[in-house]
């Protein structure tokens, strides 16, 4: 066997090996930064879920409507649970929960405070944020006309979209 043909064969193998490294792509189904999962229940009987007739959530600082589910829908009708993002650039997210009932708009503000941590996912996706020490505070409304009766933190650690973190009674 000719030794130079051998060298050429091996070089070809080498080059093909170097180029077959496929790019790393983050698959969207991978666990991303979890959202705040909110459940709406009946204030008179908290064991029963109570849907909101028509709901939109506005981020107070930017005034933009936030996605309420994984599909990114911003207005939901007859909804008893939503999944909304929390800010990563600061430890507070200020929201206005706007209910529309019989054509009347009623916004109620709720602020969520938390501590941000990071958790490694993988090479392609990098890190996701996880939240802990979740608390809520309800700024005073003037004039006071709340449709939300009570806001309870059910799970103060937010690591996945599989838990219910906050319960809103109305």
């Amino acid at each position: 066997m000719n030794k130079y043909s051998l060298l050429v064969i091996l070089l070809v193998i080498l080059c093909s090996m170097a180029s077959c490294e496929k790019d790393d792509l983050c698959i969207p189904e991978e666990a991303a930064t979890p959202r705040l999962i909110i459940l709406f229940t009946d204030n008179n009987n908290p064991l029963i879920r109570k849907p909101v007739e028509s709901l939109q959530v506005i981020e107070s600082i930017s005034g933009t409507a936030v996605p309420l589910n994984a599909a990114g829908v911003q207005v939901l009708t007859q909804v008893d649970s939503i999944a909304i993002p929390l800010r990563i650039d600061q430890n507070t997210t200020q929201y206005r929960f706007e209910r529309t009932l019989n054509g009347a708009l009623n916004p109620d503000p709720i602020n969520f405070n938390y501590t941000i941590g990071e958790q490694y996912i993988n090479r392609a996706c990098g890190f996701k944020a996880i939240y802990s020490e979740l608390t809520r505070d309800i700024p005073l409304e003037t004039p006071a006309n709340p449709w939300i009766r009570n806001v309870l933190v059910r799970n103060s650690t937010i690591t996945s979209n599989q838990d219910i973190h906050v319960e809103i009674r109305h």
């Binding site: 091996l10 983050c26 933009t64 990071e118 490694y120 090479r123 392609a124 890190f127 944020a129």
Partner: protein, 233 residues
């Protein structure tokens, strides 16, 4: 002085051969007999030098050597240092460290006359000591409501070690008297590795890049080596 060294080595090797009880040494009077050269072959990996020049995220140096034990078996080793400073979409990281590989090569090629080439398969056990630095990351989010936040933790984890097993296939060809060119491809499997806290080894010196889904690594080298001839047999 070399005369003494070679004499001692000849004595030792012939002694070992007798002890192993192979074939009884025959005194060769035939002047047309071709003798194989035994010696230490040392050299440098051109591939990592080329990559250092071409890939600005990579710096590496590797020296390699082998020593002929028998007609077909060689003990072999590689020693090197690699630094990678890589930027990707979600993560920027740095890896810096040294590695050593020890093992043996088996020559399948039947040389004619005074040729001295190898088509070989070898195995190695590799070990690396390195540090991993997380320079930057973006939080991965499923929406773009809020601006993407880049975080620059610059956390360095030092004293990490990794051990792997490696198979090599390649060839070593004599291009000039006692000068060899070698090419090989490497398939590796991680045995143990220390991962940084809340992070992972994205690159391991000597092992190469890692994969999330398996323990396999691949590599190659392209060596230029010189053999210091000790004796002929």
């Amino acid at each position: 002085m070399w005369r003494y060294v070679t004499s001692i080595l000849i004595f030792l090797v012939s002694h070992a051969a007798m002890a192993q009880g192979d074939e009884t040494p025959v005194i060769k009077n035939d002047s047309t007999t071709y003798e194989a050269t035994y010696g230490l072959r040392v050299g440098i990996d051109i591939a990592s030098l080329l990559r250092t020049a071409l890939d600005e995220e990579y710096t590496g140096l590797q020296i390699m050597g082998d020593y002929r034990l028998t007609d077909r078996w060689y003990v072999a080793a590689e020693l090197g240092n690699e630094a990678v400073d890589r930027e990707t979409n979600q993560i920027d990281f740095e890896t810096n460290g040294s590695f050593i590989k020890l093992g043996a090569d088996y020559n399948f090629y039947k040389n004619w006359l005074d040729m001295d080439n190898m088509i070989y398969v070898g195995f190695r056990v590799g070990a690396a000591n390195y540090s991993q630095t997380l320079d930057r990351f973006d939080y991965y989010q499923d929406n773009n409501l809020f601006p993407v936040e880049s975080v620059f933790p610059r956390t360095e984890t030092t004293g990490l070690t990794a051990i792997w097993g490696e198979l090599q296939a390649g060839l070593k060809v004599q291009v000039l008297n006692n000068v060899y060119m070698s090419l090989n491809v490497q398939l590796k499997r991680s045995i143990t590795e220390d991962a940084p806290e809340n992070f992972d080894n994205l690159y391991i010196p000597g092992f190469g890049r890692t994969y999330d889904t398996n323990e396999i690594g691949v590599g190659y080298s392209y060596g230029l080596t010189y053999r210091i001839p000790f004796f002929k047999k």
